[in-house]
Symmetry: C2
Subunit: 544 residues, 2 copies
């Protein structure tokens, strides 16, 4: 049909004339003139036809009300038409639906446009087909020209597809568009496509098609676009879920949520890695953890407390697992007899998180594993309980594997990972506890072992060979506390309000602190902690 032919294509029915005999000059002149005239006439006719056609087309754009940009939403009106969620489409076959969606990609084909529409972790195919009185070619063209990532309001019918649509997460439904309007368009070029950003690195490396690999640095510089991938939508749903599961477990075990101040009067715990803040005419420091406050909450009789909040570390560590600001999941509790009461509470809580993620977030985990393929996280759920080793036993495992004993006064990151591999091979678990760390490796507030003063009542928890939690029984006796502070070079006077809390009687207690992003990264094997933080902060990054 005429309207499918590109307008700039040269006419095909005009061919140069060929003749064996040379024509006369006047004949040539005449012919030239005639040709000129004919050309002019043809041009004129073409122009007239074009104009007529344009006019006709303008007249017949019967779709003007069905597409185009909406005015800027300033809450001009409120017709109260409910919008639909992509996840409900499969149950609404044959019905009219109204969707606010992103255009992930669009593809024009003859008198049709195929759109891949996205909401969070879901995509659906939509199609707009030219149709007399309903969908004009102007509407087709406008829709085909929509920039990727435009936000549109689409009205259409949900239709069952004859065969599964592989490109979309909702494969059994297609939306047949009757109206499409632009809610918010693009004002700049995309730094990368969301489709490219959602691909596994392995696919960019190995596929026959040349895909654009989006580097982590590029992603983080353009985090708002990067976060739109189905993978990231799922990752941060799981981040929220970890917080929910943490709270749910602790609430049901008698814990109270507290909020402790991040601004502190003194640089505490370990002076070196604290950020300094200008505070009116003086200075303050950002809390490295809620350690002091949560212990004071125990001295204040709250019995069992937890906190979810930012912790700040002024460490110039540029590794895959360090951030300068991260979310601490902290708890502290009074104990009746033994610090293993705390260790077991922490263990029960973490297992509840693991099981909760696995059981309630199957879909999200599948979405993430498409981009970050990984073996499912393994932990012991049976009656034998979580694997617990003492620090000494862990040292023996590494020594047996050939690590020189003199390298094992503390565990390097490398040896931690090696231990993780050895434990996985021997015990088939990605999750375990190491108990009874040497006192020399722990902070001043750690309770020494009752029999061997070189050991302490402290533990670390590990996932896939990386530490995610550190905790201990704390010293609740002010005199022993002061003694230990001095032996670690801390002046008790510099932390007077903290020490005083124990002078007015405090129950025996213990606790632990978890890095939220580490749990998320290691459960999903995201390989870099920045992927587990919404807007990560490291020594070199303060934006976006």
């Amino acid at each position: 049909m005429a309207d499918t032919q590109p307008p700039n294509q040269p006419p095909t029915d005009i061919q140069p004339e060929e003749d064996d005999k040379g024509p006369s000059k006047s004949a040539l002149k005449k012919a030239a003139k005639a040709a000129e005239k004919a050309a002019k006439a043809a041009e004129k006719a073409a122009k007239a036809e074009q104009a007529a056609q344009a006019k006709a087309e303008a007249e017949v754009d019967f779709s003007v009300d069905f597409y185009g940009p909406l005015p800027l939403n300033q809450s001009q009106s409120r017709p109260r038409r409910p919008r639909d969620d992509l996840t409900t489409l499969s149950s609404r076959i044959g019905e009219t639906v109204l969707l606010r969606v992103r255009v992930q990609t669009s593809r024009a084909q003859a008198k049709m446009v195929f759109l891949n529409l996205r909401q969070k972790t879901d995509t659906v195919q939509a199609v707009l087909i030219a149709s007399a009185g309903k969908v004009s070619k102007q509407m087709i063209k406008w829709t085909a020209d929509l920039a990727d990532e435009s936000i549109v309001l689409v009205e259409g019918t949900a239709e069952k597809t004859s065969e599964p649509i592989k490109r979309a997460s909702i494969s059994d439904v297609e939306v047949h568009i009757s109206k499409i309007h632009l809610i918010s368009g693009l004002d700049t070029r995309l730094p990368f496509s969301v489709e490219d950003a959602n691909r596994p690195d392995t696919e960019a490396d190995t596929s026959e098609v040349q895909y654009n690999r989006v580097l982590l640095e590029t992603r983080l510089n353009n985090r708002v676009v990067d976060l739109r991938t189905q993978t990231n939508q799922a990752v941060f749903k799981l981040q929220g879920a970890i917080g929910d599961l943490f709270r749910e477990y602790l609430s049901s075990h008698g814990f109270l949520e507290i909020h402790s101040p991040k601004l502190q009067g003194a640089a505490t715990e370990s002076g070196a890695s604290v950020f300094k803040v200008s505070y009116f005419k003086g200075a303050a420091f950002l809390a490295q953890s809620p350690q002091l406050a949560k212990q004071m909450a125990i001295a204040a009789d709250f019995e069992r407390v937890y906190e979810i909040g930012p912790v700040f570390r002024a460490e110039d560590s540029n590794t895959h697992r360090h951030l300068t600001e991260f979310i601490g999941l902290d708890l502290e509790m009074a104990i009746e007899e033994h610090y293993h009461e705390v260790m077991e509470t922490l263990d029960g809580m973490l297992k509840a998180i693991f099981a909760g993620l696995r059981d309630k977030y199957k879909k999200e985990i599948q979405v993430i594993q498409k981009q970050f393929p990984a073996e499912d996280f393994k932990w012991r759920e049976g009656p034998e309980g979580t694997l617990r080793l003492t620090f000494k036993e862990a040292v023996e495992i590494l020594v047996e594997d050939g690590v020189p004993r003199e390298d094992l006064d503390d565990f390097s990151t490398e040896n931690e990972k090696r231990l993780g591999r050895l434990i996985k091979a021997k015990y088939d678990t990605d999750y375990y506890i190491i108990d009874k760390f040497p006192m020399a490796l722990r902070p001043f507030y750690t309770m020494p072992d009752p029999e061997d003063p070189t050991l302490s009542n402290s533990y670390d928890f590990f996932m896939r060979g990386e530490e995610i939690l550190s905790g201990a029984q704390r010293i609740h006796d002010p005199n022993l506390l002061c003694e230990k502070m001095k032996s670690k070079g801390v002046d008790p006077e510099s932390m007077k309000p903290y020490v005083d809390a124990f002078r007015m009687a405090c129950p025996p207690h213990g606790g632990g602190g978890i890095g939220l992003e580490r749990v998320l990264m290691l459960f999903l094997k995201l390989n870099n902690i920045r992927r587990a933080s919404l807007f990560p902060r490291d020594p070199k990054r303060l934006e976006p």
Copy 2:
């Protein structure tokens, strides 16, 4: 009885001799010698008697195993004997119970000691009665000498009382102590007694008995002891509850919890009130709110997000309602048609919080009202919905009441409170919304009204005449945003990552931010926001 007589009291049977006739010198000498001898003999006899008595007593302290200090708990053993909660005692009459408790007060009386034992918001009376073979007088003495606030492990039987015990919150049970051991004692004098700290100010002022009034400053300087009052135990239980109710409502309405960074690369929103942080070789700034991050989360397709986290304000405001660090309950959501969708979500959420507190925390509210008497917080629950006024309507109410119109370009704290009283009188509600604030009063990111550009799509929520929430539809169009930034003196280049988020298409959206401590303070009428913060921070306070 002899053993009740204080040991240092002088003997009462020795009286000076009186005689009318003077005795001879030798007789005097003789008498003096005899007296001396007698005195020595008496002294000797007394000493012998004391020694015999002490020996006898030492021999008969049949209670040595039933009282005394425990060794420092370093997790030496784990007999796994469960401890009991005071709240369960009423259902355990006649049974043996094991309690870890604070000694709030003790009172010795003849051969008995009465203790007031405390756990969080509960107290119970316990009594130790001398009894042959069971409770020695040494045990009585040791127990009577226990310092207030000592932490003890008590074993005894729960006995029904013949009449209600007024001094204890659990009035129908008394614990008859058989064993009492000290878990953690005091190493210093208490700054004030927890009983004094738990009294209403009115009682200290009006009671016939001279009570010690504990000033707020003294409380805050010794916050760990102050927090132990039944009132504060209840206040912070409610603080936790507000967070729970906030999350519960929002989770069930499709919101995701996010965590945004508090360290920011640029001083944003309003440069004046931002804390500066030394960040390695450069500088960072503490976020005044998660405003920018939560809007970017909307541009990143998270649709509906909330955050509970610290916000920092470098304002030198020393008032009853300002803190330099407080907990923000923030949310942001995409809207389909109108910003009232957000306003109604915020309203529904707050009403769910109010109802949740009232219905689930009756006991805690009663405990608090004993110290802070207040009318119950009132809000409209019926179908008529929450009272909504426009800014203009609110101005009219104040003008009618005699406030000069020219004072009402903005509301002073005083006029806000006056408005609250007028509204309470007229509409019988402590809770209402003021909508349609003048654009001039709102930040650059506020969406202007579609018809009157001097107005904006923004609202504040009030409790008892004080603002607790501020929110608005935001500008999602990058060009309008830049224009408004410039008109408010903000350079769009200084906030490039934020502005860029809108260049890649962002849905229309709005949100709001709530001060957790303000909601808590105003619901309970605590009169000072510091009482609603665990360890409050203001321009003059960074400790404890």
